[in-house]
């Protein structure tokens, strides 16, 4: 379901990047995503912390 099913040449949909199967694998690979989960939490906390004075 992830790959381009229809490519209308020269349409807007023709140009954007599409993730490769490897990229899609990492997006779903649970051990890797657990690490990303920690990192994303940390990044959000940093933004929240400097949100207001």
């Amino acid at each position: 379901m992830e790959n381009r099913l229809v490519i209308d040449k020269y349409s807007e949909q023709y140009y954007p990047p599409t993730p490769t199967n490897t990229t899609l694998f990492w997006r779903r690979f649970i051990p890797f995503q657990l690490i990303r989960f920690m990192i994303l939490n940390w990044k959000i906390i940093r933004i929240v912390a400097k949100g207001h004075s």
């Binding site: 379901m1 790959n3 949909q13 954007p16 997006r27 207001h52 004075s53």
Partner: protein, 486 residues
């Protein structure tokens, strides 16, 4: 004793009321006035709209909580503001009309020493001809009841596809200057996910229609993000998401009318076009609630309190300027009304000085662009900061405003769900810092490139799922709720 009246019990209003009751002693009176006693966690509406959650999972009744906290609750809606009082009442007051069946039509004057107007937006469906959610094939996910209806309609369409009928799903913005593209973006991705989960993709055409100049604008002029060795932008990010899923898109479109079969729109080239649909979920325009305000003599001073769009004037710089001269300094920091310093308007209730995205008008004179979003995270911060400033004023007697929260300084995180599931789900974690680009501080990219990001993956779904439970826990005032940041 001080009387603090909070209008509205959404993210900004409820957050403000929560901190007011926490920081103030019982001698002070906090009153919350809202047409509904239900608190809803709006970001999860999209999961209700695809049947992954029920409305009961994203809402709760505020009355028992406010009773426990000693906060007075009036189920009513504000009608008129009297910031100077009148001949009988020597302080500011608001006139409210009750919305419960037993008191329907009754009005009451509610005096205050401090007023927090956190009434959010009016969902201006009537600004687009034929945009009536719940009627025909038109849905909305703006409220939990709309989202429940959206799921019923979506279910009907899924059944039609299971019976071999092709269906066209059109999701996006339903007004030329609508905002909140993020919610529609999440909904289209979830609708697409659910269609594919059932193996029905060959019978579905999924179309995104938006007033954005480019995809990924999201009403904040887009954002630059660091990814894969490039500084890219949210345009590519959003387009890639759609191409990956074979979702088509129509951009620069101002929807003007919708009937039972077609959506009628103008584009920035001034063309009048149509899009057929079987299921439409279009975000309406937002407006103020049409409040009126009067001075002590009864003279109408609505223009002093409210901008022409009906939202409340605050400490923003409303001087009209061309886009090239806009600055983060135009954006408010305290949400305090300049004429009446004891009135504050956090959340969507405040009138922004201008949009963030560049305003665009076509040759027919139709403005087509995304207006400024104010998502849950900034609204919560504004609500908290407003409460802190009022508490400080009450405790010290000094009206100096110590706490500030400008959208030109604070960041925001938006977890864009693209499919529900603890192992198969996905979401894009998007953060921007600050929300309003600061081209003086960050001349290259407008924002801090190290904290502005967009990352798709399963971890994003876990984050959104966690935030659902975490923020409902906080809103319910459970033990140590105040340790959870806005």
């Amino acid at each position: 004793m001080a009387r603090i009246v909070v209008l509205g019990a959404g993210v900004a209003g409820h957050t403000a009321a929560s901190y007011l009751q926490r920081y103030l002693t019982k001698e002070h009176q906090v009153t919350v006035i809202s047409p509904s006693s239900i608190y809803q966690w709006i970001p999860s509406n999209i999961w209700v709209g695809v049947g992954r959650m029920t409305a009961d999972e994203i809402k709760f009744d505020l009355k028992p909580l406010y009773k426990k906290w000693g906060v007075e609750f009036l189920q009513a809606k504000a009608q008129r503001f009297y910031p100077e009082g009148d001949a009988e009442i020597n302080s500011g007051y608001v006139e409210v009309s009750f919305t419960t069946p037993d008191r329907s039509g009754q009005t009451q004057k509610v005096p205050y020493d401090f007023l927090i107007n956190a009434t959010g937006p009016k969902l201006n469906f009537e600004a687009t001809e034929g945009l009536h959610p719940g009627e025909g094939n038109i849905a909305s996910v703006c409220t939990f009841s709309h989202a429940t209806e959206a799921w019923e309609l979506f279910k009907e369409k899924l059944e039609k596809m299971q019976n071999g009928q092709k269906q066209t799903f059109v999701i996006g913005t339903g007004h030329p200057t609508a905002t909140c593209q993020g919610a529609a973006f999440e909904y289209i991705l979830n609708v697409d996910f659910e269609i594919k989960r059932r193996g029905l993709q060959d019978l579905a055409e999924v179309v995104w229609i938006t007033n954005e100049y480019e995809l990924g604008d999201f009403g904040m002029g887009g954002a630059f993000i660091k990814k894969g060795g490039f500084i890219s932008n949210t345009k590519l990010f959003a387009e890639s998401y759609f191409v990956e899923r074979n979702i088509k898109w129509i951009k620069r479109a101002g929807v003007k009318k919708i009937d039972a079969q077609k959506i009628y729109y103008e584009n920035l080239d001034g063309e009048y076009l149509e899009q057929a649909y079987d299921f439409a979920m279009l975000i309406p325009g937002f407006a103020g609630h049409g409040f009126q305000a009067f001075d002590k003599q009864g003279t109408d001073i609505s223009a002093k309190l409210f901008a022409p769009n009906g939202l409340m004037k605050v400490d923003a710089d409303y001087t009209p300027r061309p886009f090239e001269e806009w600055s983060v300094a135009d954006w408010p920091q305290t949400y305090q009304n300049p004429s009446y310093p004891n009135i504050f308007a956090p959340g969507i209730a405040f009138a922004p000085p201008h949009s963030i995205s560049k305003p665009m008008t076509n040759k027919n004179g139709t403005a087509i662009y995304a207006t400024a979003p104010r998502t849950g995270m900034p609204s919560g911060v504004m609500g908290k900061v407003t409460a802190e400033n009022i508490v400080n004023w009450i405790k010290t007697g000094n009206p100096e405003i110590k706490h500030k929260a400008s959208m030109g300084k604070m960041g925001a995180a938006c977890i864009v769900s693209a499919g529900y599931g603890m192992s198969k789900g996905t979401a894009a974690t998007m953060t921007v810092s600050p929300v309003v680009p600061d081209w003086d501080k960050f001349p290259e990219w407008g924002r801090d490139i190290n904290t502005t990001m967009g990352e798709p993956g399963l971890a994003g779904h876990w984050l959104k799922w966690l935030m659902h439970y975490m923020f409902l826990y906080k809103a319910k005032g459970k033990p140590f709720w105040w340790m959870i940041p806005e």
